[in-house]
Structure formats: structure tokens, C-alpha cells
Symmetry: C2
Subunit: 320 residues, 2 copies
């Protein structure tokens, strides 16, 4: 009887993840929570509940956690661009919200042996340069934007609460997700997806950075697979470091564009319009683009095989 | 007209620091704040005020900051042993207290160009193994106790607020302070001082760890000197990484004891009683004992010359 809770269930990864928990995690109960009650899609357990939960409302989290879900995916956050634009809101949702969740688990488990698995989606935005050629697992978190600071602080909470056995936490620093389906969001990294998704659908897309910019990418499919692996990971392999870098694909924008050309031809590539935006470049160029994700690889986490396969995944899973 | 505020002014470093700010920082006004109003010692500016401030009381911090001190030393914290024993209190004082201070500065400066220097005392407790032979400036913070987690989170806040130019922050990861004067406190690292201070004063001291345990130490005099340097540092040399490791002295307990023997003879050494305490050893053995403090050294921060000189400092400054 596994009860899975997904916080941030209306987000792009949440919507994909919820369809996998029955088969991958043998979930019999699923709670989908987001600031507005999420739609319940097909392919979920019969006992699936949708809840509207403001993550900055500690009492609402207490109620959710009182149902004692065994596996909690904490994917709720506002994105980098929004956290940078609204300083208070970023800390309130991305830091305080995480803490309210963790405190709710602590209070709920205080007199019982309740100790759920918590899978937290962190980000390579926790890093700041200068970087070595490849960023090792031991590299410090020195974020250069508020979103990264909030994620890095949440990672520290995750580790300390796990060390105290309040819950059993695993944090994954997700690569930049590409190709994101649907409408553009406020993430500074959105263009990595826009320049592929929009031209594939015959629409124009803005490219705000130089072709030479390199990024560490993963498809939604790879991200979901790795989140599911984290939900069942043997955490005795982790020691005190509960958050780690995931494997990804290191590609330049030029390499992305060439892969698009191979799949969809010059006409698609012609839909990409270069319009430099220094504020976007400042944020995304501060993120490292090459990792030695040795720990995650040893634990069985996987990257996409190539950018061509990332495009194939999009065409199979999300093409409208 | 420099106004210096010391939060945590009744602590060991605060009491030493306040006597130096007039000459070292040309302070004309000094505010000493702690949970109980601090005693005002000699050697301070004529305009010195003592304030009782609970750092978890945001409104009280707002009042302090409304006076717009130019240099703020944030030394207020509960120590590692206490933060480990009382989970909630540790987060409330060591994390929330720091945040209330930073928010008070943000709100106070929102409509003005107020941007004070904030000097924050952090700790090598932010680190957790496995360690390389020497810990570099780029090594990650992976704390293995709650105190370290709270300090690491405060460092992240310091960096993000500084990047936003809300204040101009410098964080110093102080080595373990030795020889601490006065009565033992609840810090797990207290024995490093106890085994020197107590025998020098003819009293017994417990040694809870093996002689082979190595630590990264600094005298109170070196710590105060480095805090004063941080108050006037040209922060354009720092970039985004606002907190760094200070130089220190890497010594084993055995080397400490040999230095004590040289100064005070076998009778003093005989006052050290070995009484193994795994809970203390667990905490202190998790801290790294050798650093390459390249950045701080390049910026002019200094370590003590030898453990013998650390003992001399104690005899000159603090022997009762």
C-alpha cells in the first residue's frame, strides 16, 4: 500500500510523473497537490486525490502530511526568472514552502516511526563560477541568483532533516529540462526548449544567447525516470550528502540547432530569430555545462543518449 | 562618523572585538546588542549603547537597524552542541535570527542608499567529509550537524543579499577558537581550549577525543584581527563568493599537549584526564583540519604563527 504525494503536480514534470507512479512505484494511492487543485489525468491509481495547497500555508501542509504518504515528491517552486524578479515571493515559496513541508513531516512523525522518502528537485542553479573543466560532485554551491540560493538552502535542510531521520531525503540537481512541452514559462532557461519546440510546430522562437553557449540538458523523460529511481534508491549509499548532480548531456546551442536541422530541415532552423538578451545570458551562462556526475552514474541514474534522442522523445511524448 | 553594531556582543569574540573598534575602525558610535544588555567595558567610544535584543524578534531588529549602523558584526548564535540538542531553537536563532537581521536591513534600505557592511562569523562546521588532503576554497558545504547547516544557509543568504546590494557582506569561516577564556560553553569543540586553559590555571580538564585528532585552530586575538580586516575589506575582490575559509593552524591534540608541556611542564599536562566521549568525537572529527585558505591569505587574513604563540596570547590576554 504505497501512497505517493506529488507537490507541484501541475508543473510539467509533475504532470508526467503522476502517470508513472502506479506502474513504477506500485502506488495504490496518489495525492496530487498544487496551488490550484490539479486535473487528474488518465493512467493514475483509482484512489487519486487532487488538492489545492498553498505551500506557504503551514496548516495546509500539516493536513496533507497527516495522511502519511510514503513517498513525497517535492517539485513545487517558482522558476528562476520569477524568483529573481520578486525577491520576497521567491524566498516565501522556494525556501519557506520547503521548510513548512519538512516541519510538517517532523511534527507528524514526532511520536511515530513515520519516516517517508522525500524526493526533492533541485537545480544546477545552485552553482556559480569560476568552474573547473568538469564540475565534480564535491563542488561548492555558490549560486549567482536567488532561485539558486533558495534551492541550495533547501538542499541543506533536506540533508539535515535526513540526518536526523525525520525523513529519508534524496535531492536531484536536475539538468536544464529540454524539450519542455507547452507554453513558454518564466524560467530564464526556457529558450533552450523554445528554439526546438516552436520551430518543430512551425512557429518562430527567439534565441537570446550566442550559439556558443553550452548547457547541461536532460529530456523530461530522463528527468521523470531519474525521479522515480530516487524514490526507491537505497539511501545507505549516499552518506550525509543527500543531493547530487544528475548525469546530463553537454551541448551547445549550435549543436542543438544542428540536431533540429537534421530532424526538421533548414525551414525549421529559419524560424529561430536571434535577439540577444543580456539578462537571460547573465543567468544561464552562470550555470556550469559540464559535470562529472560520478556518484549519480554509479547509483544508476542516466542521461539521454544524444540531443537527437531528446528531440525524438519530444516528438513521441509531447508533439501537439 | 562610523557607527558599529555588534550582535552577540556578550560572546567571547564580541567582548574582545568591542574594545578594538574605536582604534581599528575609527568608530564614533558603538551599539552592543545581545539577548541581555551587554556590560559596557573600557576602551570603547564615548557614544556606546548597550541593547537587549532577541534576534528572533524581527521588530527589535528593525529598531536596531533604523539607526543605520555602517558596520554590523553578526556574531550572534547558539553553539554547535546546543543547536544539536535543540533542533527548533537552533534553526530559530541561527537561521531565522540571521534572516530577520537581513530583512531588517533590506526594509530599512529600501528607499535609501543605505548599504552597510555586514561581517558574519561562520564556521568550518559547514563542511562534511570525505575531504581531500587540503580543503580548497571551492569545496562544498556539506554539514554533518544542524549548527553547520544553519551557518551554511546563512552564508547563502549573505551572498544573495550582497549580490542584490542590500548590504555588503563578508562571511568568515572561523577556525576553532583556542584558547577560549572563561568558563566552558556547550560547544562540542570546547575541550580544545579546556585542556590548555584549565591546566594553566592549575585545574583539571577532560579530554574526550584521541590525541591523534587534528584541528584547525586560531587564537581569539587572530580571530578579532581578521574580523576587523573583514570590516574594511575591498569586497570587489570577492566576486559572488562572500564567505571564505580563514587561515588557521593545523595541529593535533598531541601537539597541543606538547606545547603545553613546554610552557607549563609535566604537572600541567598531568591535569588532563582522558575520558572518551563518542558524541563529541563524532562532531569534531567531522570537521576538516587542513585547508588551503588561498583566497583569505591573498586578501591579507592571517593565522597564528604556532600553537606556542596561541598559548602566549592566552597568557597575555586572558590568564586569570
Amino acid at each position: 500500500m504505497t501512497h505517493v504525494l506529488i507537490l507541484g503536480a501541475s508543473g510539467m514534470l509533475g504532470r508526467k510523473l503522476c502517470r508513472e507512479v502506479q506502474s513504477a512505484l506500485n502506488a495504490s494511492t496518489l495525492t496530487l497537490a498544487d496551488v490550484m487543485a490539479p486535473d487528474i489525468p488518465g493512467g493514475v491509481p483509482a484512489d487519486t486525490r487532487a488538492r489545492a495547497v498553498d505551500i506557504t500555508d503551514g496548516a495546509a501542509l500539516d493536513e496533507l502530511i497527516a495522511e502519511k504518504p510514503n513517498i513525497i515528491f517535492h517539485l513545487a517552486a517558482i522558476v528562476s526568472g520569477e524568483a529573481e524578479a520578486d525577491f520576497e515571493k521567491g524566498y516565501r515559496i522556494n525556501l519557506d514552502g520547503t521548510r513548512y513541508l519538512f516541519v510538517a513531516i517532523r511534527l507528524s512523525g514526532a511520536s511515530t516511526d513515520y519516516c517517508p522518502r522525500v524526493v526533492f528537485s533541485s537545480s544546477l542553479a545552485v552553482f556559480g563560477g569560476p568552474y573547473p573543466e568538469q564540475v565534480p560532485d564535491s563542488f561548492l554551491a555558490a549560486p549567482q541568483n536567488s532561485y539558486g540560493a533558495q534551492k541550495a538552502m533547501s538542499e541543506l535542510l533536506l540533508a539535515d532533516y535526513s540526518r536526523r531521520r525525520i525523513f529519508d531525503g534524496v535531492g536531484l540537481r536536475l539538468p536544464t529540462i529540454c524539450v519542455r512541452p507547452g507554453a513558454p514559462n518564466k524560467a530564464a532557461s526556457g529558450f533552450f526548449s523554445n528554439i526546438i519546440r516552436e520551430p518543430l510546430q512551425g512557429k518562430p522562437a527567439l534565441l537570446p544567447v550566442p550559439d556558443t553557449l553550452r548547457a547541461w540538458l536532460a529530456s523530461p523523460r530522463a528527468a521523470v525516470k531519474n525521479l522515480l529511481l530516487a524514490a526507491e534508491l537505497d539511501t545507505s549509499q549516499l552518506g550525509a550528502r543527500r543531493t547530487f548532480n544528475l548525469p546530463g548531456l553537454s551541448v551547445t546551442v549550435a549543436e542543438q540547432i544542428e540536431a533540429l536541422r537534421d530532424v526538421a530541415g533548414a525551414a525549421a532552423v529559419g524560424l529561430i530569430e536571434r535577439q540577444h538578451d543580456p539578462s537571460v545570458e547573465d543567468i544561464v551562462s552562470a550555470w556550469p555545462a559540464r559535470f562529472d556526475a560520478a556518484l549519480a552514474t554509479a547509483l544508476g541514474f542516466q542521461a539521454d543518449a544524444s540531443f537527437a534522442s531528446i528531440i525524438s522523445n519530444f516528438l513521441e511524448d509531447d508533439m501537439e
